[in-house]
């Protein structure tokens, strides 16, 4: 029996192969769709939902422009106006731009890389539901008239309890955090997919540039979002329990929020821009009719850009009294960041100049992008000149600049991408004439709206004001601006109609209508559920140019994995740098679990929103339990050894590989975790060094016994965790179970030590010192608690037969967690006990 299943043979015909694969990979219609985990479906869902949120954000923008079209307009009152511009910014940044990037990445990445799906399909589905639910919380709040109203960056103290007593700010904090969790999981998944799930032969230097862009963007999200999540948690804890992190009268500091927010917020601008730039880099060469110039230089510049963009968050805080030298550090990063951007622009222009451009609709949008984005860059330079910045600070000039950058840098490339990949989604061809009309409406409307808005800013109209008088002389400018925005809105409405028409009535397109050279066009369109009937062997950056017959060969089953084995979904993973075949990744099939888990997570967030902490705990526990249930279908009950993968080659299943995708995912999750912890630790140190009303009235009393127990627990967890993955230990089932129980016991000790220490913390509502100390200890305790779960999970897996010397993945993942917990625990103890000694 096993012999047979391990020796699958390719079906005789391409059609038979298609049927076999579709039976396993396909998603049934109707309610079955709720269980879908397929990347094409989930990606499409993300894109459509993000577009709906774009429409909502756009509608809010239209309301703003209607209100401002005439002086003394009675259309919207100030409270509603505040909610509307705040929600417009929030929706556009968090519910449109980032999810649109995620959707495109999910849809395209496996196809670009020559894989059959993303690395963790169920995680993608879970992320989608979290996004949908979190976004809905915000939109429902808006519909009920209790939306956040403190501006999209939620500055404290405006967003603190004193000034925003209602639920408005909580909605923002909860809704956005919910969505950010999905963004973090998407980041992990995108990174692992790019690094591991590529076609054989696709070494790092043969990767399509878009994959590089998405990889770098995902890394930026991995390090950029944790500070915001920590900031949001701190603010919500302050609002709900009165722990004063941002209240200067009790040792807090509003500046801490600004630091944490912009630590995320500035990179965010590049997180939005980079994927769009990746689209430009992908589409432009196709229509320029030549390969992109400077592949290596583009890779170098986007990596440099990613780092440098983290070094200038403080430029949003120039007006808050920061020493000259510190300003100099941040200005140096601001100027440096322009260089990699310029390198990309030159690579694009050079490619255009060296090729023979075709003026298609996507190309029109790319030209629009150049024009608008470069103009936005120029006004950015103007804003960087400090005296000028003072003059136009917080006027509509800033609003205009920001839209030139964001709409130019994201929306125009996205429109190009939409027209470029639409035939891939629909399998039908685009109508040139309609698209041209859409372009000109949007382009003219955009420039009319925002070019004029520079002028309104220069004559002094402040941003975020809901009305102005006739004596100001701003009426004409505003009227023109509002007129332009309606033109633009008509353009987007026509675009939506164009898409619907193409989808319903378009002419069938042939495969690869644009004559592109990347792998996503090596399949039938619309894409089959399994992408490739067999996986390609890649030998160049332009597989379809090197091997024009590739699509036919793959469909005929002449690539890798041209069969279904054991009814399982399989794709290949390769060596990270070399692209050599490494493992067969067996993916989980569709299930309702991601949806159920997301609902449990939603119960948690909504309960926190309404301050119902018992249901919240139930929701959190249910989420954890559900995640544990996911693992019932992962892993393997037997050692399989190398399995044939077609073309006379073979590879081990991922369960027996050295570095399976899940191990990478754990490492990346811990990196994000460490960033969150560092943000929290930064908060404590920052407040102590900078905030007023320090030192605190009372310090943490040191309890030597508790500290020793905690230290012993943490060190023990790490050491015994290491022992649990020794081959000699794994080989003996009884021994490995005992060792794992030892790990759990060590975590219990750590937890007991930390708990006792927490009892010694002075009242955390009195001062930011005990509040921050408490949070640091809680952070470590949370890790120890999860450490117990990981250890017992290991016992469960071991007893259920999922573990063998060859299949040690579960235990190795656990060991990573134990080591990280020990590190975080040690640093926490050092901080809470050491800082008082150093600082007093």
């Amino acid at each position: 029996m096993q012999q047979m299943s391990d020796q699958p043979s390719a079906p005789a015909s391409a059609v038979a192969l298609h049927k076999q694969l579709e039976a396993v990979w396909g998603t049934p219609p109707g309610l079955g769709r709720l269980a879908s985990v397929n990347h094409t479906i989930v990606g499409r869902r993300f894109i459509v939902t993000a577009f709906v949120f774009f429409a909502i954000g756009g509608l809010l923008a239209m309301l703003i422009r209607t209100q401002l079209a005439t002086p003394r307009s009675a259309f919207l009152g100030p409270e509603i106006y505040n909610q509307i511009f705040t929600m417009h910014g929030t929706v556009m940044m968090f519910l449109f731009a980032i999810p649109m990037f995620e959707g495109l990445a999910f849809y395209l990445l496996p196809k670009l890389l020559g894989a059959r799906d993303m690395a963790f399909p169920r995680m993608s589905a879970y992320g989608y539901w979290c996004y949908l639910f979190g976004g809905s919380i915000l939109v429902v709040g808006l519909a009920l008239g209790v939306a956040p109203d403190g501006g999209w960056f939620m500055y404290t103290p405006l967003s603190s309890k004193t000034y925003t007593p209602g639920i408005n700010a909580d909605l923002w904090l909860i809704g956005v955090t919910f969505v950010e969790i999905s963004a973090l999981s998407a980041a992990v998944e995108i990174i692992v997919t790019v690094l591991k799930l590529r076609a054989p032969g696709m070494s790092l230097d043969k990767m399509p540039l878009l994959a590089w862009y998405l990889l770098v963007t995902a890394f930026m999200m991995l390090f950029g979002f944790p500070p915001l999540i920590v900031g949001s948690i701190l603010l919500e804890v302050e609002r709900a329990f009165g722990l004063p992190f941002f209240d200067p009268t009790r040792g807090g500091d509003p500046l801490l929020w600004q630091h944490l927010f912009w630590l995320f917020g500035h990179p965010e601008v590049y997180i939005i821009f980079l994927p769009a730039a990746g689209m430009v880099t992908t589409i432009l060469p196709v229509f320029a009719g030549r390969e992109i110039i400077g592949y290596t230089w583009i890779v170098v510049s986007i990596v440099a850009l990613a780092f440098l963009s983290f070094g200038l968050w403080v430029h949003h805080m120039f007006t808050v009294g920061i020493p000259h030298l510190a300003l100099a550090f941040f200005s140096s990063a601001s100027t440096a960041v322009a260089v990699p951007t310029a390198v990309q622009i030159f690579a694009w222009l050079g490619t255009l100049a060296a090729g023979r451009p075709r003026l298609t609709v996507p190309m029109l949008f790319l030209l629009g992008f150049f024009f608008v984005f470069v103009a936005g860059g120029l006004t950015g330079v103007m804003l960087a000149i400090v005296p000028f910045d003072w003059q136009v600070h917080d006027t509509h000039f800033v609003v205009a600049h920001l839209h030139y950058v964001l709409v130019g840098g994201f929306v125009f490339p996205m429109m190009a991408a939409a027209y470029y990949w639409l035939p891939h989604f629909t399998g039908r061809s685009t109508r040139h004439g309609f698209g041209v009309t859409v372009f000109w409406l949007i382009f003219a409307g955009f420039n009319l709206t925002f070019l004029v808005m520079h002028w309104t800013g220069l004559v002094g109209m402040p941003r975020r004001v809901y009305t102005y008088g006739t004596e100001t002389g701003w009426e004409w400018l505003n009227l023109i601006s509002s007129f332009g925005s309606f033109l633009m809105a008509i353009g987007f409405a026509l675009f939506a109609i164009d898409v619907l028409m193409q989808w319903r009535y378009g002419r069938r397109t042939r495969r690869n209508p644009w004559r592109a050279e990347t792998l996503e066009w090596a399949m039938a369109v619309p894409a089959p559920s399994y992408n490739f009937a067999s996986l390609p062997a890649v030998s160049s950056r332009a597989p379809l140019a090197t091997e024009p017959q590739l699509p036919a060969h793959l469909a005929a089953g002449r690539g890798y994995l041209p069969f279904v084995r054991d009814g399982r979904m399989e794709t290949l993973a390769v060596g990270l740098v070399t692209g050599q075949i490494e493992q067969v990744v067996r993916l989980p099939n569709r299930t309702l679990l991601p949806l159920i888990t997301a609902i449990a997570t939603g119960v948690f967030f909504v309960s926190v929103l309404f301050k119902l902490y018992v249901p919240a705990l139930v929701g959190a526990a249910a989420t954890l339990a559900m995640f544990l249930l996911w693992t019932r279908t992962t892993g393997d009950l037997q050692d399989r050894g190398a399995m044939p993968i077609g073309r006379g080659e073979s590879a081990a299943p991922h369960t027996e590989a050295m570095a399976p995708p899940a191990l990478w995912a754990m490492a990346l999750t811990l990196a994000a975790d460490a960033t969150a912890f560092a943000s929290l630790a930064f908060g404590l140190v920052f407040l102590w060094v900078v905030a007023p009303n320090w030192p605190p009235p009372a310090l943490l009393a040191v309890d030597p016994a508790a500290t020793v127990v905690a230290v012993v627990g943490f060190v023990g967890a790490a050491l015994v965790g290491r022992i649990s993955v020794r081959p000699a230990v794994i080989a003996v089932p009884r021994l490995r179970d005992r060792v794992l129980i030892g790990v759990a016991a060590a975590h219990v000790a750590a937890l007991a030590g930390l708990g006792t220490t927490m009892l010694e913390v002075p009242d955390p509502t009195r001062h930011a010192y005990p509040a921050a100390t408490m949070m640091v200890l809680l952070y470590a305790a949370f890790h120890a608690a999860l450490g117990i779960v990981f250890a017992l999970y290991g016992v469960w897996r071991s007893r259920a037969g999922f573990v063998s010397p060859a299949r040690s993945l579960d235990l190795r993942i656990g060991a990573m967690w134990h080591a990280a917990t020990a590190a975080i625990g040690a640093v926490s103890l050092l901080l809470v006990h050491g800082l008082p000694v150093v600082m007093t």
Partner: protein, 117 residues
């Protein structure tokens, strides 16, 4: 002659970003050092004809520049010995050079600007 060991992943990937990791470290230490130094008044302590804070910042800066210099030499050696694919070593060397320039650029103001105002 034995061939030196090949640099394998994930270390090959680390080589790509090592330069900018050093830049990040320089940035964090400089900004953090400055903030802490100003809070504790280290700018008012004189040492070797200048303030202790300025001296400390210069030291942080130079250490990072030196680290980058060493890293540059290392990635060039890896490249010449062919211990990693050419694309990785070329990109790593280029990124190290860029990080070195960025780090030098970041610290240029240390000798010249007022410290805590």
């Amino acid at each position: 002659m034995t061939q030196a060991a090949r640099i394998t992943p994930p270390r090959a990937l680390l080589l790509l970003v090592a330069g900018f990791v050093v830049w990040s470290s320089a940035f964090v230490w400089l900004y953090g050092g400055l903030s802490v130094g100003c809070a504790f008044g280290w700018d008012r302590i004189t040492l070797a004809g200048t303030s202790a804070l300025r001296l400390g910042l210069l030291l942080i800066w130079l250490v990072h520049v030196a680290a980058l210099g060493w890293l540059l030499a290392y990635s060039r050696a890896v490249r010449q010995a062919g211990r990693s694919p050419p694309f990785v070593t070329t990109a790593a060397t280029a990124l190290t050079v860029v990080a070195l320039i960025a780090t030098v650029w970041t610290g240029l103001a240390i000798p010249a600007t007022t410290l805590c105002i």
